[in-house]
């Protein structure tokens, strides 16, 4: 008989996020409640949570780029990115982000997914360039429009990463698929799996690029 009670932990997370409680508290309360329901004692719950946090410290490493980004912002990096775009004749937000989408998908597909990202490239370069392109083409942006341009910049990074990286065969998700299927007796080479990521990568590019072109048009049509 399957025990359904641990699902309360998921329910707590969904409710907590929906009611906009602080996510750090939501996650902690959910972890503790789930552990207790599953029959762990309090010390065991806290130890399991602490060990998992310690095992995942690699996630915190990307923040070492912040001093460099901050230092370059001090010397006008964002202003420079904007100036470059203003000097280009045909730059639009959509075209710029499509180029970045291609770059991100290709570099991720050859295993270089950690070379770009939100702290490394989106905040210092991509978002300021996309904003400058929009302003150059359409004049001053309202706050809501500027938010949209920044959100699309981050979204483009995610789409490029997610639907490029699985073409690279030595990535965690491919290894995971391989290991899981191997436990059921299906022995596949990583490359056999990676080729099936290509159709989705093409579809992701077509769908997102179409949206970026339409986003350009929407920015152009406002107020008319």
């Amino acid at each position: 008989m399957i025990n359904y009670w641990p699902l309360i932990g998921i329910l707590l997370v969904v409710i907590g996020f929906a009611l906009k409680f602080n996510p750090m508290l939501v996650v902690t309360v959910s972890a503790i409640v789930t552990g207790l329901i599953a029959g762990m004692d309090p010390v065991e719950v806290i130890s399991t949570f602490g060990k998992a946090f310690n095992d995942n410290r690699i996630i915190a490493i990307v923040w070492i780029v912040l001093p460099v980004i901050g230092l370059l912002e001090r010397f006008g990096l964002q202003q420079r990115a904007a100036a470059v775009i203003r000097s280009m004749k045909n730059a639009t937000t959509g075209r710029l982000l499509i180029l970045y989408l291609i770059y991100r998908q290709i570099t991720a597909a050859i295993g270089l997914h950690s070379t770009a990202g939100h702290p490394q490239t989106v905040r210092p370069l991509v978002a300021p360039m996309a904003l400058a392109a929009a302003e150059k083409q359409h004049g001053h942006l309202s706050e809501a429009e500027a938010e949209k341009v920044k959100a699309y910049s981050a979204a483009t990074d995610n789409v490029g990463l997610f639907f490029g990286e699985d073409i690279f065969f030595a990535i965690g998700s491919i290894v995971l698929i391989q290991q899981i299927l191997a436990t059921y007796g299906y022995d596949l080479a990583p490359l056999q799996l990676a080729v099936w990521a290509i159709p989705t990568a093409i579809a992701a590019f077509l769908i997102h690029a179409t949206r970026l072109v339409r986003f350009d048009r929407k920015l152009g049509n406002r107020g008319r």
């Binding site: 641990p6 699902l7 997370v13 409680f21 602080n22 996510p23 750090m24 508290l25 996650v27 552990g35 599953a38 762990m40 010390v43 806290i46 130890s47 399991t48 060990k51 998992a52 995942n56 410290r57 996630i59 915190a60 490493i61 923040w63 780029v65 912040l66 001093p67 980004i69 901050g70 230092l71 370059l72 001090r74 010397f75 990096l77 964002q78 420079r80 100036a83 070379t115 939100h118 490394q120 905040r123 959100a151 981050a154 979204a155 995610n158 789409v159 699985d166 030595a170 998700s173 491919i174 995971l176 698929i177 899981i180 299927l181 059921y184 596949l188 990676a194 099936w196 990521a197 989705t200």
Partner: protein, 317 residues
Amino acid sequence: MITLHWLYALAGAMFAAFALLSALDKANPKRLGNAAFWGLMALSLLGGDVIGDFGNGLLVLGLAGLAGFGFIGRSHPPTTSEEEREGWSSKLGNKLFLPALIIPATALLGTLLYNYTPLGQAGWIEPKRETYVFLGLGVLFALAAIFAWLRPPAIAPLQEGRRLIDAIGWAAVLPQMLASLGVLFAAAGVGDAIGSLTRMVIPEGSIFLTVAVFGIGMAVFTMVMGNAFAAFPVMAAAIGVPLLIQHYHGDPAVVGAVGMLAGFCGTLMTPMAANFNLVPAALLELKDQYGVIRAQIATALPLLAVNILLIYLLAFR
């Protein structure tokens, strides 16, 4: 051999400096909260292997308490004004991009050289972690280049880094918390319960509907867990292997690879995937913390439909 621990030490030292500078920042009314928060991060990175599992657990509770009860707040470390920045930007020109490109270039070239030349056979670096090591090296190169060229005050990289990390706030730690929550969910049997619930809604005899439930299940469970890696083993055990592969004889490579990508469509739509969706919102200083997710939904939903069609068309050729 250079291991990840070298990078933990580097990041830990940086967070320790953020903590110290926070404590001294008299202009910030929440300076002690900030100092404690980044101090705990420094302790985790520098001493996480020494303080034991329970000690790490208490550390995490401390982080959650400081963030959750509003003890940390945004700071305004000394930096340049908008006008000064415009001035520097026109004075320095496009050369200003070069230090920013040192980081990705070092990571890229380093990884390629290490993997495709005899350089890697010396075994200097912990296997599979070379990109991270070259990322760290790139940061140090970039700092050296900026100091040699522009001669900022010695404390400037730490103050500017603190300006950015305080703008991000607790969102910088949330991804690690969610990964830990996933581990606890797995230990508590959440996966088994979800798998058994999904099997109840499968209609008998229709390959297409079974594929659809598999794809949508991957996306929805990924949204709940914030991570397609957590969803995949569960959905594979519930539907992918017993029904699609064994019962209907689908190609395991397609079911596995495209099934995972259906999960990634879920990642685009959930606040639980904090490092992809909430952290950039904080990093770009968006008013709407769900702004990035809103920009992604119209890509994710059609792509999920495409993935379901791809499994149906390619796995059952």
